[in-house]
Amino acid sequence: MSTPELVRTRAIESTLATNKLIRNTYTLLSMTLLFSALTAGVSVWLRMPPMTYLLGLGGAFLLIWLVLPRTANSASGLGVVFAITGLLGFSLGPLLSVYLSLANGPQIVGMAFAGTGVIFLGLSGYALTTRKDFSFMGGFLITGFLVVLMAALANIFLQIPALALAISAAVIFIMSGFILYDTSRMVHDRGETNYLLATISIYLSIFNIFVHLLHILGVMGGDD
């Protein structure tokens, strides 16, 4: 095979691999989102106590940090991904119960759900169709995320409502940026070749956007 043919063959193989990664990621993402919604519904139905949110988040992050890296390249990784998303969905139960108890609660939850979907589909579609490289955003986004985490830590004790709203707005902005960043990494083959890890990255962005959009809509539109 001559050099131009070899280059062309490798380019085709790379494109096929990228398309397969994108297809597998979005297929798994849709399944995990459905599973997460199911576990959230179960949690609401069981009327789980507020502690569930903290324990669910803690458990999910333990799985993400300690278990998933070790299993991402094996069949058990799929089970771990569903365990993570199931736990995170289950942890939403107490939160959803609080918002659903508001006078316009179902409307708020529905709008947060639909709004999250529109944001994700819009940003993903933009990144996939324009094929722009958003890898330059990585440093900015992670720095912003660290600042938000520190602000959230401070606000646990300061309990300033305006700061809580600002944190939620910042999280939505940063997570939207991460959707562009993660999608771009898949498209441009920038180090993300594992669809399990790619799925979890995008899932966490969607999860955070939903939770914080729910908070903003609940505060601004709730019956106080």
């Binding site: 507020p50 502690m51 903290l54 988040l57 803690g58 992050f61 940090w65 316009n104 409307q107 708020i108 709008m111 709004g115 529109v118 944001i119 819009g122 940003l123 933009y126 324009t130 722009k132 490289d133 958003f134 890898s135 330059f136 955003m137 990585g138 440093g139 900015f140 992670i142 720095t143 995320f145 660290l146 985490l149 520190m150 959230a152 830590l153 646990i156 004790f157 309990q159 707005a169 939505i172 902005f173 939207s176 940026g177 562009l180 959009l213 903003i216 809509l217 601004m220 539109g221």
Partner: protein, 60 residues
């Protein structure tokens, strides 16, 4: 928020900061610099997201 929830949340956030910080340093060091045009192409959709959230708030 009850005290134990505050303490638990604070512990979780501190652990997250500790775990994420080394990865963040690596990402900051490895991130390529974006041109003004590239930043604009990223900030426009994010500005649209912000406008969309404002629209949702007005609709509730």
């Amino acid at each position: 928020m009850e005290l134990w929830m505050k303490i638990g949340s604070a512990i979780l956030l501190v652990i997250m900061l500790i775990v994420i910080f080394p990865r963040a340093r690596q990402m900051i060091a490895e991130s390529p610099k974006g041109s003004a045009k590239e930043w604009l192409s990223a900030l426009i959709p994010l500005a649209l997201v912000a406008a969309f959230v404002v629209l949702l708030v007005m609709m509730v």
